[in-house]
């Protein structure tokens, strides 16, 4: 599905990685048993996290076995299964179905439509089992769709709509931990949504699709800002996690929360920096080629400088005009930045209709 919620493998102990993988395999098997081949195709790491989180919290009876499977035909590997791998499988199919349908509505990709129709029947079955969750999901996704189409909303709003979906999915039952799980899910959802936006930004701009980061993309400090925003989400998530009495698999879960979730970010960030470097190099090369004819260039440069100065002068004048306008604006009290007394005085003078 998204695949952002993974472990940071190099820092995981060998045994821990084995445990993580056994839950991943457990989820895969649950998907296959409950929803067949097409269900299995929705397998993602994201929901492995959910299965392990709930397992750590509730410590249910877990069956461990070793199996052979299609992707690893030559070696047997351990599989962990319990009620939560099953639950995660349900959630995974539910989420994949709506995601496909959403993508179909957004981008009209035929493949997505086909896949969504393959999952439709299974989805109805699950929706009957979890009516409240399915309802919330459908409702928020359609709202999200609307909001994205109209644009002009804050990043919190769009990300929050997806966060609310994940919040519902993280709650297995309404008990004393429901609020905490909801909060973890909410900020996880926001993180995933924003990470997805960060990942897709160039493509979205090209296709003129909504992207919460698009307006700031080319501005200075953009990378730092995204990092800060994503960190805020994970901080809320992790804070809530630390409050839960989780001991089982706690280190694996922390590996995901504090490091694994950044794997994809680091990859995208590195790619973007490289592209930036390349673009800068290309620009330099182009400039170098221009400098090949020095004689005419000198004159050109002088001329360019002349116009630059001219521009500068006119710029100055513009600036003055602008500051003049902003002064006037602050005097009329349209913006609150201009000090309270001035505002109130001015408003006294302005007759109100």
């Amino acid at each position: 599905m998204f695949g952002y919620i993974v472990v940071n493998k190099p820092e995981l102990k060998f045994r821990e990685f084995g445990v993580y993988q056994s839950y991943y395999c457990g989820l895969c098997r649950a998907l296959k048993e409950k929803y067949g081949r097409f269900g299995q195709m929705t397998l993602s790491y994201d929901m492995t996290f959910l299965a392990m989180l709930l397992t750590g919290l509730y410590e249910p009876e877990t069956s461990e076995s070793t199996v052979r499977c299609i992707t690893h035909p030559f070696e047997k590997h351990p599989v962990c299964m319990n009620v939560f791998t099953e639950y995660a499988a349900d959630v995974n199919v539910l989420l994949s179905y709506y995601k496909c349908e959403d993508d179909w509505l957004d981008e009209h990709k035929a493949g997505k439509y086909l896949f969504a129709s393959l999952l439709r029947k299974k989805n109805h079955r699950i929706a009957k089992e979890y009516p409240a969750k399915a309802c919330k999901m459908a409702e928020n996704l359609s709202r999200l769709h609307e909001v994205e189409k109209n644009g002009g909303v804050t990043l919190d709003e769009t990300a929050g709509l997806f966060g609310e979906i994940m919040a519902e999915l993280f709650v297995y039952k309404e008990d004393e931990w429901a609020d905490s799980l909801r909060r973890i899910g909410f900020f996880f959802g926001k993180f995933i949504y924003l990470m997805d936006a960060y990942d897709d930004i160039e493509a979205d701009i090209k296709k003129k699709c909504y992207n919460p980061f698009a307006p700031r993309f080319k501005e200075e400090g953009f990378e730092e800002e995204v990092k800060l925003v994503l960190t805020m989400m994970m901080a809320e998530c992790s804070r809530e996690f630390e409050k839960l009495p989780i001991l089982l698999h706690a280190e694996i879960l922390r590996n995901i929360l504090y490091a694994g979730v950044w794997t994809k970010y680091e990859a995208v960030h590195a790619r973007r920096m490289k592209e930036k470097e390349k673009a800068a190099e290309n620009a330099e090369a182009a400039r170098g080629a221009e400098n090949g004819e020095p004689a005419t260039d000198m004159r050109n440069e002088e001329a360019a400088e002349g116009t630059k100065n001219g521009e500068l002068a006119s710029d100055m004048r513009n600036k003055e005009a602008v500051t003049g306008v902003s002064d006037a604006a602050s005097l009329t009290g349209t913006k609150d930045a201009g000090g309270k007394e001035e505002n109130t005085e001015r408003q006294d003078g302005v007759p109100k209709l």
Binding site: N8, T154, D179, L247, Y258, E266, T344
Partner: protein, 243 residues
């Protein structure tokens, strides 16, 4: 009031993990499911509730201590079941220092002041009651947006889970009235999560994690080396990389 540490049978200096262990053990022992045939069923259930309450209380106290601020934005007793995300109210909010200063704007037109200040007061009441969405609605109707408006909006947004907007507004309030310590405190509270989080990252990030390209390359080459020899390799700065 009962000492929560006493209920769990741990000392005040116990680690978080020790507390979680103690909680696990006791809650398993007194869980209603485990005491179906117990003649003292009611007592067991009572004890179970006490254990849960104690655990919750300790975690909240510790979180408040860790965030290092008096305001305790994080974690308040259960949020009245109203708020869908269980956002803790602003414990320190009760003080409402800013409110007294309200009469200061007396030279404004009476009718307007009444309306705006009434709305602002209503927003404050909503916030105090944990009704953040309603607070946001009321705040949206106010046209005059001073530092106090940004301050309330920041808190209401934080309560609704809009943490990015909240920080923006809090910073706006603080920059409009730099001398106001409540505004500064709110900014700190909203930012504290980030620094707390990055502080906890290092054991899981490893050497290569966030330290840029060069380090990554070094790690990778070491990783390859150690794969050949099948052992652990030692990083130049004393760390160890196992594979």
């Amino acid at each position: 009031m009962i000492d929560p540490y006493g209920v769990l049978g741990v000392s005040r200096s116990a680690s978080d993990d020790d507390i979680k262990k103690a909680y696990r053990k006791l809650s398993r022992q007194y869980h209603p499911d485990a005491n179906v045939n117990n003649p003292n069923k009611a007592q067991a259930e009572e004890k179970f509730k006490q254990i849960q309450q104690a655990y919750r209380q300790i975690m909240q106290e510790r979180e408040r201590g860790a965030s290092g601020s008096s305001g305790s934005y994080y974690g308040q007793e259960d949020a009245e079941g109203y708020d869908p995300f269980g956002f803790g109210g602003f414990g320190g909010f009760g003080g409402f220092g800013g409110f007294g200063g309200y009469a200061g704007n007396a030279n404004r037109r009476a009718a307007e002041e009444d309306e705006d200040s009434l709305h602002l007061k209503a927003a404050a009441n909503y916030i105090n009651g944990g009704h953040y969405k309603e607070a946001l609605n009321v705040l949206g109707t106010i046209s005059e947006r001073g530092a106090q408006w940004y301050y309330y909006s920041a808190i209401a947004n934080a309560g609704c889970g809009n943490n990015v907007q909240a920080l923006q507004y809090a910073k706006q309030a603080a920059s409009m009235e730099p001398g106001n310590s409540a505004y500064q405190r709110l900014v700190q509270q909203l930012e504290s999560g980030g620094s707390w989080y990055t502080g906890r990252q290092s054991p899981y990030m490893g050497m290569g994690g966030m330290q840029g390209n060069l380090c990554n390359r070094i790690c990778l080459s070491y990783l390859l080396c150690s794969c050949c020899s099948g052992g652990c390799c030692y990083m130049p700065y004393g760390g160890m990389y196992c594979c």
